[in-house]
Amino acid sequence: MSSTNEVIFNEVSSLFEKVSFEKISDRKYAVSIEKRQVVSFLETLKRKGFSHMSLITCIDWIEEKEFEIVYTLFNWNTGTTLMVKTRTSREKPVVPTIMEIWPTAKFYERDIHEFFGVKFEGNPDLKPLILESWEEIPPMRKDFDPEKYSKEHFPDRAYEVDFLVKGSENDE
């Protein structure tokens, strides 16, 4: 038995406080949830039909001093994508793990831990997944300057600019 999106969203809204599902398009919705409720919220959604966790990603809102974790869920009965967003402070970014709900989340969490420095409480294995011998701050944070890092570590090729009139490369 499959229920429509409205039925699922009404049922979930009655269980959690201050939750409003925002419609982006016909088959795309978004919702924000507090960090402490995120595990039970995702568990409820999974039981109601959003059984497929497509992706976990992270956004660095540097001016608001917050990280936003976005869980993208998919419902195979209605073909609907739902983005569940939660925020955590930038100084001490800790989010509970959702490995118990979707075991594959382990690797997304490792990835976010490596590239943003967000700690996932309860994930036993947060060792680096992609980078090797990385010593700087996590590279996907907005305050990391990749060009400066590249200049320091990987020398550029020196070019003789003889195919342009002198000074013309600065003219717009």
């Binding site: 992609i130 980078l131 090797e132 990749p146 060009e147 590249s150 990987f154 020398p155 550029d156 090729r157």
Partner: protein, 179 residues
């Protein structure tokens, strides 16, 4: 800058230039231009160049596209496994100057600092015509004895090692396949 070749070297280089086995290390998007170059339309094999699956039997190491530091470690491993004489072709603008990844924290900008490159194929991407023309150039260079990257690597090993270490920290690979 033609070096004096002995008679034996002349014969050997002539033969080497006419039978090249190529290991294509598909690091980036450049690999997509190789199937048309290999197959019937451009038919690389008429020049005696054919693909080879293992580094130990290959003559050319073709680096197709950008190299991240992680891949560079593997490329150095692969290059050291190959038997001399061996030639490296840098393919696409990413190997020349970083290409569109010039400001990436993970991608090197200049391949010939780390391994000796005999020939660069510029372009993003070079078309099969450019690849075929590049290989013809490489064959001529080998014939004349100018493609001596493998000798330069032996002579300037300390310099290459120093550059590799400054970019990578260490060349040794720690992963499930190497430990």
């Amino acid at each position: 800058m033609t070096k004096q070749q002995s008679a034996w070297e002349k014969v050997a280089n002539m033969l080497r230039a006419r039978s090249l086995w190529m290991l294509y290390y598909c690091t980036g998007c450049g690999a997509i231009e190789l199937p048309p170059t290999m197959t019937s339309r451009f038919d690389m094999e008429r020049f005696g160049i054919s693909p080879m699956a293992t580094p130990r039997q290959a003559d050319i190491l073709l680096i197709t596209g950008y190299l991240s530091t992680k891949t560079l470690r593997r490329v150095i491993y692969t290059y050291e496994q190959m038997q001399a004489p061996k030639y490296i072709v840098g393919f696409g603008s990413c190997t020349l100057n970083g290409g569109i990844y010039y400001d990436s924290y993970a991608t090197i900008n200049k391949l010939d600092l780390y391994i000796p490159v005999d020939l660069y194929l510029a372009g993003c991407m070079p078309r099969p015509e450019a690849i075929v023309s590049g290989f013809k150039k490489l064959m001529e260079k080998i014939d004349r004895g100018e493609a001596d990257g493998w000798k330069r690597y032996q002579e300037n090993y300390e310099w290459y090692k120093k550059n590799q270490l400054s970019a990578l920290g260490e060349v040794y690979i720690h992963d499930e396949f190497h430990e």
